[in-house]
Symmetry: C2
Subunit: 530 residues, 2 copies
């Protein structure tokens, strides 16, 4: 037998062996002809060459769009200053930790009491694999990422009206829904009901695929037994030695399953924005914004509330209030990148043309409520074997999100106890923070009875009450885009806008990043080409 | 507005608010009546009380089963000694790193040249959420876990005969398969072809659910457009500012998709053994075994090749060869837990009754090949946006597994370049290691043309050539289980067997753990009760 060791084998030798095994021609052909479909509009780090010496650019807002603009424009050789209303960088890319205080519109103040290392991301909390702009900044700035769990087969789907309000495991609902669909379609094919749509050969292939995909028996039936239990779980699991034999689980009956509408949540993980792989920064979503900020920290002025934006042929002037000293100030520059959310910008005097003005005023903002709840232990892991992921419910809280980090650790942990949109989130936002938490505990307690015993403290963010955004994200409609989007994004004199609101990816950091890169690329060209 | 801060709110007050919001009765009812379905046969840490003083137990094998037995029996007060053939703990729960050397049957030796921090798990590489035994040892011994990515929507499904051999993204195949199924079933329902199987109300609900689940249009059609592209991906993705408008992607045509058989891989993530959440230990699978070993290190004798197992009414005697000195030795004890794989045990003289002997001799072993390939950079991430997960192919290599750790890092990385079963893995195992690697490079290069340029070194494990297992895992059939399983697991005199082969969870560490816990529980009872 050969005693050749792999480490003595040259790359040349290996390529020879490859050629011997499959044919070098095939290999080279493979190398030359395979293309990779575009997964992102992000084209890699931008290059802005030839910035005129001494040119000053003012950036309004130190969220993701503003920070990206400041970072890239500075790298390109511009003099950059950033004004930020908050006393921190990141904007909605925000992470709340123990010791943080936050006062919302209306004056309610929350002090966050989370234990060390625990956090809530009140804004974005996940980064899809195809958001290559955000991912590239994380990579370049050495921000560690860890997988976010979107779909957890052992988490629950819950409807108050279905199955006596008892939460069902995702694995059971998905397996049964898929099984019944496969069974019904098989039945229709066997009845020749689809002969006009399927050739005999395709019908045969489809039946075969449905048996496998739907965990059907040989006759195309979906039944309780080993095959279905290998997906939906056994009533008594397989064991070792002489432990009791495995017992298959019962199916959820088909018609109650249809009536339950639990199927409405089966597809969330199929949407590209939520498909695996999907990530979160280790330690909190603000890590990326903070890494960007650390690159431009000397340029950023916090506690600067913009009150007016002026421009003429010589440059731009921004009036702002230093909210710590309550003094009025002016900032001047040659050009302006404004990333202030439209919900706020529409309240600010701004010297732009009627088209951009109309666009700024036209776009309504969605709201959202997110509530972080700290519990004394990870009962969802210890009692229910739920490690990360999401439970969906038709209760107003809508979502329970389990932490996708620190699996198996002891001590307290924070879960997302509510993630609400639309009317329910306005109602929730109308309550004082402590009552929002009480509601989240009450509703979540229907799914996790451990809530009452294990609850320690919480933090309830209502975006409609956010003083720095007055909402969550720009709620574009197709009609609004048609009428206003291009006008919003055009450079108006010396001013260009950026942010998720100036993108086709609203509510996501990727929209802010791509919008910013596009805006500063066009601004740079204007500056350079005159 | 309220200025109440949540940290000043007592738990009692919160419970009152809960009661106010949803009714305390409902809350208490919720707490009392919700049960949690059993997800595992593991019943928590075992307690073995009343071990007679001075009782000696010999354990053969320091894999997961042997280490669990040694750890728990020692905790229970027994004198424990472990004999292990290898010079390391863990058995098949093994991680190969740079600097490791391995000589297989036939004499071929591989030196692993992986860079620091990189590894291959030649045996188990993932831990499902329902393998509560393994997970609990990881937790108790503080072994950090990180998510393993089983399903990656951006990885490939590949058939040499389909779509000109061009790999297809999982997201495209899944979306299109689901869409076509939903479309066909909708068509059958609208034709009233399933009226005997569905009430009008259920038919209506099912049509509604299929529209959402299958990303169908209002008329139940599956088409290229925004809805399907939001799942399968856009040809030109959404951008920011004035970037080009998004362009929907074309569908894979239905009949070629059926003929491609790429659908055969859509369900792997639906199997409970592969469902999310699923984990790997940070740093390599051997971390758990090593943590167990560190608890019992003083009891473990390495390089001990067992040659005979004797027992009489006084105790057990095990003859073994110290492979470092080539000397013959005996070990004595009162009782024996033998975790040697049946493929090896069937070659060893052993004083057990004919039933256990027949069982030991009856069970064949599967083989498997796993190949780790180190490349100079993570081209799968950088060029193709594949972060972890699995590409499936009908080439003999079968599987390409991308590392589920270190996302976004620069420098070299190791991917799993082949994971083979059955006849193909015997053929592969018949080649010298370097040629196995060459084959893996050649075949994998059809999917990733970057292979040829980026390859650095590799390690190729063939389990049929493993000197310590002569195979991969016990290949029980239903008939073999019926005839032999109980006989294998019964205590024979002073001897009990344990390992994945003595479980209903073959090939998984959980089988080894549960088998071991069951075996030592029964043995302990026998010892205590006489």
């Amino acid at each position: 037998m050969s005693r050749m060791t792999t480490n003595t084998m040259s790359r040349r030798h290996l390529l020879t062996l490859i050629g011997k095994n499959l044919g070098a021609a095939a290999m080279m052909q493979g190398m030359g002809t395979l293309g990779f479909a575009a997964a992102s509009t992000y084209a890699g780090p931008i290059r802005l060459d030839g910035a005129p010496k001494g040119t000053q650019i003012l950036v309004l807002g130190a969220g993701m769009a503003g920070l990206v603009a400041a970072f890239e424009l500075r790298n390109a050789g511009y003099h950059v200053q950033v004004l930020e209303y908050n006393d921190r960088a990141g904007g909605r890319a925000w992470t709340v930790r123990g010791g943080d205080r936050y006062t919302e519109l209306g004056g309610a103040t929350q002090s966050c009491d989370f234990a060390d290392g625990l956090y809530l991301n009140p804004g974005p909390w996940r980064i899809p694999y195809h958001h290559q702009g955000v991912l590239d900044y994380a990579k370049r700035l050495k921000v560690s990422l860890e997988p976010f769990i979107q779909v957890n087969y052992n988490a629950y789907l819950h409807s108050t009206d279905a199955f006596d309000g008892k939460p069902q495991r995702f694995r059971a609902v998905q397996t049964d829904y898929q099984g019944y669909i496969a069974e019904l379609l098989s039945k229709a094919i066997r009845k020749d009901a689809l002969d006009d749509a399927l050739s005999a050969e395709d019908a045969h292939l489809l039946l075969e695929s449905l048996r496998q995909w739907g965990a059907l028996d040989r006759d195309g039936g979906y039944q309780a037994g080993r095959r279905s239990s290998e997906r939906r779980g056994f009533a008594t699991a397989h064991g070792g030695g002489l432990m009791p034999k495995a017992v298959p689980s019962n199916l959820l009956p088909r018609d109650p399953l249809l009536a339950s509408r639990l199927w409405q949540w089966l597809s969330s993980g199929n949407e590209q924005d939520f498909q695996s792989s999907i990530f979160q920064p280790v330690g909190g979503m603000d890590r990326i914004a903070h890494a960007l900020h650390s690159q431009v920290a000397s340029a950023v002025v916090f506690n600067a509330r913009v009150t007016a934006i002026l421009q003429d042929e010589q440059g731009v002037t921004v009036r702002y209030t230093d909210t710590t000293t309550r003094t009025e100030r002016n900032a001047h520059a040659d050009w302006l990148v404004c990333t202030i959310p439209l919900s706020i910008l529409s309240q600010i005097d701004m010297a732009v043309g009627p088209d951009m003005r109309a666009a700024i005023d036209a776009v309504p903002y969605e709201t959202s409520v997110k509530i972080g709840l700290q519990f004394g232990r990870r009962f969802w892991e210890e009692d229910e074997q739920i490690y990360g992921g999401i439970t969906h419910t038709d209760l107003p809280i809508s979502t329970i999100g389990y932490p996708a980090t620190g699996y198996g650790s002891t001590g307290p942990a924070v879960l997302l106890g509510a993630y609400m949109w639309g009317p329910a989130s306005y109602e929730m936002g109308a309550l004082p923070p402590a009552e929002r938490i009480a509601v989240a505990l009450s509703q979540g307690g229907q799914i996790h009875p451990q809530y009452a015993r294990e609850y320690q403290n919480g933090f309830a963010m209502s975006w409609s009450r956010s003083p720095f955004t007055n909402g969550c994200f720009a709620a574009w409609t197709d009609a609004l885009r048609e009428a206003h989007y291009a006008n919003l994004c055009q450079i108006d004199g010396r001013i260009v806008l950026a942010g998720e609101h100036a993108s086709h990816i609203p509510a996501w950091q990727e929209g802010a990043v791509l919008s910013s890169l596009d805006a500063i690329t066009r601004l740079h060209r204007r500056i350079v080409n005159g």
